[in-house]
Homo-oligomer: 120 residues x 2
């Protein structure tokens, strides 16, 4: 996957603009990644996915989301954990052709939690 | 779907407990719904889904998530919008058998936004 298909979501990201980028990316690449760190960004990311489904629906498409933990900047002394969403285009008339397997991601207890919460 | 398969997520919900409930529900029913309202709840819900994927993986299963907007208590004078996650069990060895179509949900502009944000 090309690196330009990774969408980075901030707490101030617009769900509608995000949805446009998701729908465009999925139409072009069939799958894209999206990374969000913190509760506000997670909120915008989830709303963006919900709106993107509405954008794709008139064309007979849908999408599925598979979130997983990821570490931002693994080289840094202190690891920051984020959520990486694997988004895959789905044809409404048929099953999803291919799914990404669960990545070997660190468990919650091994990471610095998201959004300043304790992750428990 | 039985009503007892709807998980309601709060901002204080534990991702690990949520993940246990998701994995159990999916093993039993193949699909479940989860409702979250607000940024903190969305954060916990997303982390719960990510952990549930780790719980299901040793058994050769995965899940896919499809978020959509929903209105809590449509009878109330003032509508509160939430996100409803449709979670579907997926067999890692094959495609997802069945997907839920996009529901006819209100667009962002028609709803009271989530988490006190303006939804844009």
């Amino acid at each position: 996957m090309e690196s330009n298909t990774v969408l980075r979501v901030a707490g101030t990201s617009s769900p509608r603009k995000l949805a446009g980028a998701i729908a465009h990316g999925l139409r072009k690449h069939n799958e894209i990644e999206m990374v969000a760190c913190g509760a506000a960004a997670m909120n915008q990311a989830t709303k963006g996915i919900a709106v993107a489904r509405q954008y794709l629906e008139p064309d007979g498409y849908d999408l599925v989301s598979q979130p997983a933990f990821t570490i931002l900047d693994p080289e840094a002394a202190e690891h920051r954990t984020a959520i990486r969403f694997w988004l895959t285009l789905a044809d409404c008339a048929g099953p999803v052709k291919r799914l990404r397997r669960v990545e070997r991601t660190p468990l919650l207890g091994d990471c610095r939690p998201l959004g300043g919460e304790d992750g428990t």
